[in-house]
Amino acid sequence: MSASIAERPVVLETKALCKNFGGRLTASGYEGGLWAVRDFDLTVREGELVGLIGPNGAGKTTVFNMINALISVTSGQITFYGKNLVGLPPHAITQSGIGRTFQNIRVFPRLSVLDNVRVAYHPHAGYGLFHSISHDDHFGQRERELTEKAQDLLALFNLQDRQNEIASNLPYGEQRRLEIARALAAEPKLLLLDEPAAGMNPREVHTLMDMIHFIRDKFKLTILLIEHQMRVVMGICEWITAMDFGEVIARGTADEISNNPKVIEAYLGKAGRRV
């Protein structure tokens, strides 16, 4: 089993990824400041479901933001299917096949549910400003195709009846689903989920776990997931990387991680070891 996994192509690889906030750049590197992420290595292979865990402030979201280029990389490498990502603008990274959701939901609040998804289809719309102005037959045809794709996607997430609703009017759980649907509309190969279970009740968490498995199989995705709730990560992730204070403290399968003394210490403090 593990041999077959090793043969799969590497989707995402980070090497010695660092992020420094507020430090001064000197001849020997950055001095002072806060190292939000330090020497972060991660290898994600095709079809895997990888979890990234750690207590608050461990630097998990910072890693996501660096992969997405929403914040700059201080040093280190990020490659996606062997291609370098550092230095590319965020939209180019998304267009190359990395979709993401946000920890605090960021749907477009005043757009309709359907438009939220259709925004993400924009790079694949197949018409430009000219057709947008002229609204000709080419536009009509492409727009219909695009809308039907968006509606199919919404139907998968059981949001098809809500398509004309303003996104901010949706309840929390539906906004979460909408955000995932929107991320999938960008047609990613790798999906980054930032705390998808945040603020969900246990029942919703349960269906969410099913959903994550389902979308991975249906869209042939590789998923990298940040999670706070250990139950979610332990339940669905094949490989887990644990972080604390910007550094990797443990890697391995769910069982290995849950028994790792460093992870227990990071979550529960030194006293936690004795438990």
């Binding site: 939209h91 925004v119 790079p123 102005i133 004309n164 246990p202």
Partner: protein
Amino acid sequence: MQKSRFHFLGQSWLFWLSLILIFLLAQWVLMPRLSEFRKTAWVIFPSIMAIICLGLNLIYGFNGQFSLGQWGFYGIGAYAAALVTYHWAGRVSYLIKGIVVQLPPLLQKLIPMAQIELFHFDAGRSAVLLFALLFGALLAAVISLGFGYIVLLRLGSDYFGIATLGFTIMVQVLIINSDQVIPETKGARGMIGIPQMTSFFWAFLFLILAIVVMRNILYSSVGRAIMSVREDEVAAQAMGINTLKYKTISFVIGSFFAGLAGGLYAHLYAFLSPGYFSFVRSFDPMIIIVFGGLGNMTGTILATFLWAITLEGMRIWLPQGFEAWRFVVYPIVLLLMMLLRPQGLMGRYEVGFLRAPKWPLRAAAQAEVKPQVAPAAAGNPQSEEEKLS
């Protein structure tokens, strides 16, 4: 399919036919009953103003970039178009003799004219005007492309507002001193000798085109990209939207509209004064679009006409000797409006064809086999917790 039917800019022949009817009704029934002053101040001028306001609403209301620079592009469009017609309008003339129809007395009750002229115009002069307007608008668009790209690359919304305010001031100073390079503009004394050519026809034509073009852009993928930048720039980037590109596109389109409006304005009063292009005036379009509702086309058009008609109308409505009080009444109205209806006159409500096209629910999609991805009706979370742990 019904696609083979006539369509222009996505609208059916019925739409265009009814617009022609509305135009003829206004031209023959309404306009002859208005004095020259009211015709200009209540109908033609607000139509021009509506074009620049629509452009500004695209930038601020739909794209979320606070711009005070539209007034500068308005000035650029006005002077550029005026310079073209100043030189060429008198030289090119090709009169088209249309049909003159004598009206029967019965119809004269409705149309207060003895005869109406159909297709009776100077094609040469009209062509020059059309070229001048396009030249002014394109010049404004090209300048806004350069300015917008450089400034938007670095500055966010509020700072962008200050930079564009600076642009408007700069344009006015350039206009005042422009006679050193282009003597025809006569600098601070104001430009005269512009042919008076902006009729109700031109104002109506370009207002309708501006509305339809703007509507088409908004209800397309480009429009959704523009609006997503306003909604959440970070999320838009993460969805693969090149935010800088769409900020620049909406700024350039808005400036094109402003330049077009400027050209129409120049040929309305046949006089251009640099004082009119002062930055203080650049707040007028801003006030109008906030009043009408940010991100609302119907509100913008309605607010422009309300603004122009009340502001000029108060000269007549207020008692003799109290005309100056209109600038007391006007801010009070604005204040009340902002307190009572901060979302603007129309809020989210759009009229008729300006409404977003609704897509029918997809029957095929609902039939597709899908797992229970969505949570079922919320059960008792307590019992679920026990089951899971």
